[in-house]
């Protein structure tokens, strides 16, 4: 069969491999592959951060500690300080834990054979809701319950516009959780789908060339491998960028919720 026709039959299998299949148990309660990998990433995050914190020195000589410290400094100086400004220090632990967890989850998914937990909409929904609850909590704490609801609408508007703008701002605030979740999920899912399709094409073309001893079909496979490597490099960038974007958007939402209008 022509390898391009074979691809059409393989794609449903590829899609099905992204569904959250049960590893243990079935039906309502059990352990899906994404939850399994989420626990592994959680353990990895804890190990990385705790080991780095254990070896902390005023002048780091260890490369690993230096790397973790650079990540922490990025969250503290580049994200929290810039986006939140005054009183940013109490938000750094939350932002740093979210950043490290998402970063490690994204990178674990890039290892062949592993699944990225953030490639499942349920995991990203959970992360987004944590962020959503967090910034609303700090908003209520800063303004008081009624004051927080009022603070959605910027002051100085004509009285007629106030309810309309207030309602639109409320909707956009509720959409923040949705967009946080969908952005991370769709980026990871689409990236891994593209990687999977290029890998499938490579293997299909090579197996066709071997089965029919037709070397002409092995040539496109070289191109597919090059595409695969290029997309892989892009995915490494995206994995970092999405963790950064999730953290910085959380920081911006916190600053919006707590700032005085």
């Amino acid at each position: 069969m022509n390898p391009l026709d074979a691809l059409k039959e393989e794609i449903p299998h590829l899609k099905a491999s992204f569904d959250s299949a049960f590893l243990v148990g079935e039906g309502g309660i059990g352990l899906t592959q994404y939850v399994f990998w989420m626990f592994i990433c959680l353990a990895l995050t804890l190990i990385v951060v705790l080991v780095a914190a254990h070896k902390l020195k005023p002048v780091p000589s260890n490369k690993f500690v230096n790397m973790v410290e650079y990540g922490y400094d990025l969250v503290r100086g580049g994200v929290a300080k810039d986006a939140i400004g005054h009183g940013y220090k109490r938000h750094v632990p939350f932002l740093a834990s979210i950043f490290f967890f998402i970063l490690i989850s994204n990178f674990v998914g890039l290892i062949p054979g592993c699944k990225t937990p953030t490639g499942s909409i349920s995991v990203t929904w959970a992360l987004a809701i944590v962020s959503f609850v967090y910034f609303n909590y700090w908003g209520v704490k800063a303004h008081g319950g009624l004051g927080y609801l009022k603070s959605f609408c910027p002051s100085g508007l004509p009285i007629v516009l106030v309810p309309i703008v207030w309602f639109l701002e409320l909707v956009s605030a509720c959409l923040r959780a949705l967009t946080l979740a969908v952005r991370l999920y769709a980026n990871m899912f689409a990236g891994h789908m593209v990687l999977g399709i290029f890998a499938l094409l490579t293997s299909l073309f090579i197996s066709y060339a071997i089965n029919n001893t037709d070397l002409m079909y092995a040539l496109p496979a070289v191109g597919w491998v090059l595409f695969l490597v290029a997309m892989y490099a892009l995915e490494v960038l995206v994995a970092f960028l999405q963790a950064y974007v999730f953290t910085i958007l959380s920081a911006v939402y916190i600053s919006l919720a707590t700032s005085e209008h």
Binding site: G78, D82, A83, T179, V182, R183, Y185, A186, N187, A190, L241, Y244, V245, I248, L249, V252
Partner: protein
């Protein structure tokens, strides 16, 4: 069979149309970031952060379209 094919093709066309907007948006944001940091290189770091935030907000719309094309 015919309707299924037309429906799945229309999904792709709709997603492509939706992405035009996101593409233009990110393009304009990148243009602004580049020209601004060429004029004031000392602000490049902060401008880039703002560019990332804007691009992420625009990109979310395109990605919602992507997810919708799978779900619907």
């Amino acid at each position: 069979m015919e309707t299924v094919f037309v429906l799945s093709a229309l999904k792709l066309v709709g997603y492509g149309l939706g992405v035009i907007g996101a593409g233009i948006g990110i393009g304009i944001a990148c243009y602004g970031c580049c020209t601004a940091s060429a004029r004031q290189p000392e602000l490049a770091g902060r401008l880039f952060t703002n560019f990332i935030i804007g691009a992420a907000l625009v990109e979310a719309l395109g990605l919602i379209g992507f997810v919708m094309s799978f779900l619907v």
